[in-house]
Symmetry: C2
């Protein structure tokens, strides 16, 4: 099922040139530029080690991280647009972070955020690229970019229970990834109060693990939509193997084309790809397909305040992605008077999930470098490590939002059923 990639899958050809730049003596201009970069980043406790070994430091306390800059060209590219270039330069090896990558990124995130209205932060905000639009065709291209890399690639480091490429749930923090993903699916199922025979529609089903779990454990019927071809093929095969093909149907189509009538709507990890301008349309789909007693849950990465996705992540990893604030998410529900019953923030659960993924991913470095290449491996390592840091430093949130029709009074009197044995 893996497609062998002949070319650099993320297209770092032009960046690789940064490796070859002059490695001659560090000049006064290089030194000034390196210092300026650190000052404008609100003086993180990080040492820049230049290509001839010279160390530049502008932090206030003891340094907690060191970055090797391999060439003059790398320094100059970094200074031009640190937000976008750091990732590319790291991927091709023109920058090297010494020590723990997650800790380093947490340090930098914290420093830049503590700097408040610092110049670099404002500059970063300006330089962020707007997410690429999620029209029907744009969504297809955006999703293909990320999710059709190869099922075997994701199988290396996602949980073996249900191939969940979304935040797990660790009611006990020392759970395995597999146990936590299973716990997440049960947590969502309990929030939705699934009953045998319920008709469930899922928007954005990944490799279909939630649908299979719901069908096999809760006796519901699930129709699950996804526009990633490779994922739908995988999901359908697995359901057939499990003898669930009568209960689960995977449809290769956009959520906007959902048809039918359902008791339950669920979407785990799709909203990030929808785009705020499409939220009222998503709400319309939910309103159209849910019965008068219908209920639903949306699980999504979010923000405390609105800002674009990190520019490099949007460019290289997740085209079109945008994690909304709760305020923005209300564009889905308000036009249809859906009643918000429960919002839970699982931020630290995503940090833990990502740590588990990163650990497994790094164990398969050889495989990934062989199948793709070294830059691809390093880019993904940076993306996973940076995501851990974004959740631990509170730059990203994870919201589970439960909603229902406004007049449905068949509600549990407490949330204790989520915490029963």
């Amino acid at each position: 099922m893996v497609t062998k990639n002949k070319s650099l899958p993320l297209g770092f050809h032009d960046v690789s040139a940064a490796l070859d730049g002059s490695r001659g003596r560090v000049t006064a201009w290089d030194r000034w530029l390196a210092r300026k970069l650190l000052v404008l980043a609100d003086r993180p406790p990080v040492v820049l080690v230049l290509w001839d070994g010279e160390e530049i430091y502008e932090g206030r306390g003891t340094p907690v991280g060191r970055v090797r800059v391999r060439s003059r060209r790398a320094l100059h590219r970094l200074a031009r647009n640190p937000n976008l270039e750091f990732g590319d330069l790291y991927a091709v090896g023109a920058l090297e972070v010494e020590g723990d990558l997650v800790k380093f990124l947490e340090t930098v995130y914290t420093s830049i955020r503590d700097g408040g209205g610092g110049f670099l932060r404002r500059r970063l905000a300006r330089l962020q690229e707007r997410p690429r639009p999620n029209t029907l065709r744009g969504s297809k291209a955006n999703i293909h970019h990320h999710y059709d890399i190869g099922n075997a690639f994701y199988a290396l480091w996602l949980d073996r229970y249900a191939m969940q490429y979304t935040c797990a749930y660790y009611p006990e923090p020392d759970m395995t990834l597999e146990a936590a993903q299973e716990a997440k699916l049960d947590h969502v199922a309990r929030k939705l109060r699934l009953k045998p025979g319920d008709r469930v529609v899922e928007a954005g089903c990944g490799w279909g693990g939630l649908a299979r779990h719901f069908a096999s454990r809760y006796g519901v019927k699930v129709r699950a939509y996804n526009i990633s071809h490779e994922q739908i093929v995988y999901a359908t095969e697995r359901a057939r193997e499990m003898g669930l093909d009568g209960q689960v149907e995977y449809v290769e189509d956009d959520y906007r084309n959902i048809t039918g009538t359902y008791d339950v709507f669920v979407s785990v990890g799709m909203l990030e790809h929808v785009g705020v301008p499409n939220y009222p349309a998503l709400g319309g789909v939910i309103d159209r397909c849910l019965t008068d007693r219908g209920r639903g849950l949306i699980h999504s990465i979010g923000r405390n305040r609105a800002q674009f996705m990190h520019g490099w992540i949007e460019k290289r990893i997740f085209p079109g992605a945008y994690p909304p604030t709760l305020r923005e998410a209300m564009d889905i529900f308000e036009p249809y008077e859906f009643s918000i019953l429960d919002v839970e923030n699982l931020r630290l659960h995503y940090a833990r999930t990502l740590s588990h993924w990163l650990e497994r991913f790094e164990r398969h470095q050889d495989w990934v470098e062989r199948e793709y290449d070294r830059a691809f491996f390093r880019a993904w390592r940076l993306y996973l490590a940076g995501s851990v840091a974004a959740f631990t430093t509170g730059s990203l949130q994870l919201f589970q939002i439960v909603f229902a029709r406004p007049r449905d009074n068949d509600l549990p009197w407490s949330r204790a059923h989520l915490y029963g044995s």
Copy 2:
């Protein structure tokens, strides 16, 4: 402590005239007006019984309610502005509802809301008065109007445990009001993860029951603010009686004047009186007074979509009140990057709380009519019954919002601690 009210406390003098209007024969014009009124209200299953006994009905199925219109003048006032006049006419007895008042109001709310974009609904929306502004002086007047009616009056029908004039919490639906108010205070305390020695600030403390409960049961220190003089006097006396005066301090001042540094911010049932334009200022107060590890909870009536308070309630009962949507509430949190951890909707709990209040209130009809007057009793009965109906029909919500500083990672791994024994 009760102030004997010499005058009609709600000022129904002009409305009383509606009782005296001509009770002569019903004319074609009266009949046309009565029909029109029902049609424009989206044909609720309600019979209007005119002063000479003639019955008007425009509903589609079997009638479920009957309203007696005592005079021509009452009919004409009602037709002019049903939203505002219904309450006043009911208060003075110019309208009489046969049978169960709550059921009648639920029927009408449901009918008008189902009518969707019906004429009357749009007209009602236009006729709603904007809430009176909550400037420092405006708030004082608005709060005095409602909360300084007399402590003895509220003591008649609020719970004897803590005089909570806010939504109780019924994890077991057959709990008494007292048990449910105590459960509410514990639910809030658990959500706030109170530890002995925590410094708590409360904005809008009512009769001070939460502060006393927190101090006596959780060993925290509470400074509680309120601008209602009668409530502060009562709260301070009770704390002294309970020997809590070292741990609880009641301050007669506006939330905007909160000083000091706290581990916990809590506000139960004040946000409704703050006004959306003041939300960023409220957020600023919270940001200023909370430590770097601070956390908080706001408990408030809310809406699924933005609309003004019912005009008559705003005019006669709660000047300046406005229940926000979740989107509007985000104006408090976003400017300071507070992280929303948990939102729980307790809509049906408020319906039950109000039913308990209404039942007790009606038991004291004689006392209330003697101390105030009959119109006052009937106005409050309508307000309590209408509030039950607003919560059961989903027109009002009750949100508890838990928030924390964005980078505080000392968070519980699940909400199971809210549901322990």
